[in-house]
Structures are given as structure tokens and as C-alpha cells.
Amino acid sequence: MTVPPVATVSGERSRARRGGRSERASAIGTSRKTGYLFVALYVVLLALFGIAPTVYAIYLSVTKVGGGFVWGSNFTRAFQDFRFLPAFEHVAEYLAIWLIAEAVLIVILALMLHPLSRRTSASFRFLFYMPGALAGSASVLVWLFMLDPTLSPWHFLLSLFGYSQIDLVLLPSHLPWIFAIMAFWTGAGGWIVVMYGALNNIPDELLEAARLDGANALQSALRIKIPLIKKWIVYMLILSFAGGTQLFVEPQLVGQASAGLVSNTWSPNQLAYYIAFINDNFNEAAAISVTLLILGLLGATLLVWRTRLFEIS
């Protein structure tokens, strides 16, 4: 990540230059200094709360307490921590389940909603979208209730699998699935809306032509609709990947509610928190933070430069 040329705020307001220039040239000329003024406050916030912590985290990750460079040793120590590998495995498993569920179910649901009448599909979209309001700790709490066989409305499903108590549901091997369900519950609706919007942008003539050529619903979905919304699917998966690596609140709260059933270093972010505040080793914690940061940054960079979804001009 390159450090941006931070706009210097001169404090003087640019004087509008007049005369001797064409209209357009003067507009650009006068706006150069004011351009800096307009972005000044944002650049200060970006520098303080975006760039500075990034640089600081990198600095900490290669130094030791009290200063002095140690280069890679914080990283090797963190990587060799017996909790490090399991934490990344947990999140990898969670991501695999969640991303596959997103790629398959969200696309199928959007494709199913697409041919419905506008009004019908709008009601479904609203119902799917609403759990998004419960993102964060609220959704975890809701699912703690939903997964408790003694009071859950899904009691019949849980007992089908032989779960009579919440302790039997919150088994370590189930946790990636449970967190994936929570993430899907709050996030899927928003993405269904996005996919639906993308499907609506496909020209009718194209679908009509396919129909005249004898394509059935399944063929037109597989051969035309999905290829045309592919970049949105990639967009969703990369964003989810970047966000999913940072998992914290779900294992944290489930651990809180299950009195020790879930390790408090279940996810890498929890491990970083634990090493920072319980072991009091911010340098090693920073090494984990930087590792997570690089994962997030990779996702973001990939998205911006490879998919051309965003406009930079």
C-alpha cells in the first residue's frame, strides 16, 4: 500500500482567476487549490484512521516491546503459536461453507425471484432483506435462541437430528456451520437484492431471442443469466471473503453464552485480541493483525483492479 500524497491545506482560499483564459481552462485552474480544500477533512480522517493505524500495525509487527527491529520473529512466533493454525483452519472451514452457500443459494433465489411479478418479488425481497437489520451481536443472540432445542421454533428439525440440548448443537465441529448460517441469515437478503437488480439489467430482447431459439428456463439461466451477472457474484464473494476472515463477534458471543464450549481464541481475530490484551503482547498481536490485513487488502485490490467494477476516472 502506497502512502498517498496527503493534501496540504494551505488555508488560503483560491482566488478565482478571470480573464485571458477559456472558460473550461479557468474552471480547472481555479479548482486545483479548492480541490485540496474540498477533500481536506476527509484526507485528515483517512490519514489518522486509515493510513496511520496501518503503518503503525506494520511497524509494531516488525519491532519488539520498547522498540528495536526484530523483523520476522513476531510472525514466526505467532505462526508457531499452537492456537494459530487451528484458528485459521476454523475460519477457512467457515468461509468455505459460507461462500459456497452464497454462490449457490443467493444466485438460485435471485433467479427464482426474477420471473415473478414485480410486486410479489418485492415482498419476498423485503422479507429476505429484513434480517440484515440484526447484523452484529443481535443476530448471534437470535440464533442462540434458534439453536436451543428446548425453545426453538425449529425444534422439529433439531430433534430430527437428535439434538435435545443446546450443548449438543454447539459442538466444535458444528461451529463453522453455525457461524455460516448466522452470516447467511443477515447478509444474504442484501445480496439477493443486488443480484436481482443485476438480472433486471439484462436486456429483454436477449432473453426473448434465447427463448425463440428454443432455450428453456434452465438453459437460459445457465447460458445467459449467470454469465451476465458473473462479475456481481465475484464481487460478492471477494467482499465476503475479506469480511469473513475477520470473524470475531460470532465466536465471541457464542463462547460467552456456552460457558467454555467455544475456545476464546477460535478465530484469528480473537487470537490477536487475546494475545494483545491477555498476554499483553501487542507486537505479536500486530503480526496477526497484519496477516489479516494483507488478506483483506488482497481481496480489495483484486476486486478494484481485476473486476473493473468500480469507476476511477
Partner: protein, 287 residues
């Protein structure tokens, strides 16, 4: 015909998946703790149970819940306000003025917008700690006010909806650059102000990790973190280990706490559904 039936079944099944939990949480506060397990999950209890749960929740530890809600309101309002004040001119500047480093700034904005905010929380804590601001409202409000997604939304808005000719005409009429922004662009920007406000509000209100790390005093917590404290005080989740002393929370109160905690965001979702959807689609431009 067969497809229609399959479609309908799948859609109804997912409607149940998405909506049954919400209905259950809305009904739970009308029941007693024992009725939660003994009566049907969709049975309605009665209003007196609801008022009982309400009183117990807001009476918990001399009204700490109310304080958490107020904190959430203050932190979100503070974060959203500064984010808007910074994002509107920044989006305008990026879209309609020329300066060296503009493209770089735009690229960095995009990357920081996509990068999950959680990744920076620990280093932010150290930074804020070095100026002795941890456990103050500023430790939450200031990081909230950095909202690159809002800047990007404003950038898209200004570059696609404000006709350049209009701005040029204003300049010819003797408006200086600030005047052009203040009297031409800003009044037209009302829809994007609402859009940024909604997204920033939802993100700030639901943020858990940042306040969790920054704040240590119980009475300073926002409600999202307060919910965790309630879980640790709920008898059903911590049998034999109440953790926080004498006063315990029952499950109907906990369900009510969920409803109260998310009510502001839910209201925004219901009334601003269209705006929010528009913003999600604007997050990435179409070809």
C-alpha cells in the same frame, strides 16, 4: 408448471428461514421464561408479561440499558455527522475538481472501503491509547467518522448527476469555487446525504468490535456490546455462574433487549428500503 411449484416451495422455505426467527423474537417478550419452553414457539403470551419484561430490562442494574441506548445514539450520531461533513465536499472535490493525487486518493478510498474495518481495530486502539483517548466517546466517534464508502457514494453521485455546464454557468456569473459548491451542488445533493447517512448509521449502530476494544467502562458501552453483558448475566446461558453478581436476566428480557437494540436500524430499513437498495447497487457502477 412443475418449475412453478418447486420455485414456490423453495421461496416459502427460505421465507421461513429468514423470517421465523424475527417473529419468534417479537413474540418471546410476551411470555414468561418457563412459558418459552412449555408453550408453542408462536404462541402469544400476554401484554402484562411484556410490561414485566420491559420493567425488568430497563430496571437492570439501575437502568444501564437506557444508558447503552443513549451511548449508541451519541456515538452513531457523532460518527454519522462528521462522516457526512467530510464526505460531501470530498466526493464533490474528487468528482468535479482537478488536483494532483486525485486518482491516488480515489484508489485508496476504494481499497479502504472494501477492506473490512475490523482489521484496523487493534492498531487503532494503540493509536488512540497513545493520546489517552481510550474509554472516551471520541475513541469510537472519530474512527466512525472515517467512512470511505460514503465518500465513494458522493463521488459517484456528483460525477453522474450534476451537469458540468451548470457549474460552469455559475462560475461565469461570478460564483467562486466555494459558492458553486455551497449554492449549486449542495442543494442538489440532498438524496446522497440521506444515502450516506443511512449507510453510516447502520454500520455505526451495529458495530461491535471497535467499541468492544475501545471502551472498558460498562456505562459507556453502546447497546451492541451491552447485549454481550446481558448474555453473561442471563441465568439460562450461565447456570451456576452468574458472573455479574446478584441480578440476573431472564430470557424474555433478553429477547426484548434484542428488539429494542435493533429497533432504530429496523425502522431505517423499513422506511428507507429503496434508498438502501439504490446505494447497494451504486456501490459498484454498471458498465
Amino acid at each position: 408448471m412443475k418449475w412453478r411449484v418447486v420455485t414456490l416451495i423453495v421461496l416459502l422455505a427460505f421465507t421461513a428461514f429468514f423470517f421465523v426467527p424475527i417473529i419468534w423474537v417479537l413474540l418471546a417478550p410476551t411470555k414468561t421464561d418457563t412459558a418459552l419452553t412449555s408453550s408453542g414457539p408462536f404462541a402469544f403470551g400476554n401484554f402484562s408479561n411484556f410490561f414485566h419484561a420491559w420493567k425488568a430490562l430497563f430496571g437492570f442494574q439501575s437502568g444501564v440499558m437506557r444508558g447503552w441506548l443513549e451511548n449508541s445514539a451519541i456515538y452513531s450520531f457523532g460518527g454519522v455527522s462528521i462522516a457526512i461533513v467530510a464526505a460531501i465536499p470530498a466526493g464533490y472535490g474528487l468528482a468535479l475538481t482537478q488536483f494532483i493525487g486525485r486518482k491516488t486518493l480515489l484508489a485508496i478510498t476504494l481499497v479502504t472501503m472494501i477492506m473490512p474495518a475490523t482489521a484496523l481495530v487493534l492498531p487503532l486502539f494503540l493509536e488512540v491509547n497513545s493520546v489517552h483517548l481510550t474509554d472516551t466517546p471520541w475513541s469510537v466517534i472519530l474512527p466512525f467518522s472515517f467512512f470511505p464508502f460514503g465518500v465513494y457514494l458522493c463521488y459517484i453521485f456528483f460525477s453522474s448527476t450534476i451537469p458540468r455546464d451548470l457549474l460552469a454557468a455559475a462560475r461565469v456569473d461570478g460564483c467562486n469555487e466555494w459558492g458553486v459548491f455551497r449554492y449549486i451542488a449542495l442543494p442538489l445533493a440532498r438524496p446522497v446525504v440521506a444515502l450516506v447517512a443511512f449507510f453510516a448509521f447502520v454500520a455505526d449502530w451495529n458495530n461491535y468490535y471497535l467499541p468492544f476494544v475501545m471502551l472498558s467502562t460498562n456505562t459507556k458501552l453502546p447497546v451492541q456490546v451491552g447485549l454481550e453483558y446481558l448474555i453473561s448475566s442471563t441465568e439460562a446461558f450461565n447456570p451456576g455462574n452468574p458472573g455479574t453478581g446478584a441480578q440476573l436476566v431472564q430470557r424474555p428480557e433478553l429477547a426484548l433487549a434484542i428488539v429494542v437494540a435493533i429497533a432504530p436500524v429496523a425502522i431505517v430499513f423499513i422506511f428507507a428500503q429503496r434508498t438502501l437498495v439504490k446505494g447497494m447497487l451504486a456501490g459498484a457502477t454498471k458498465e
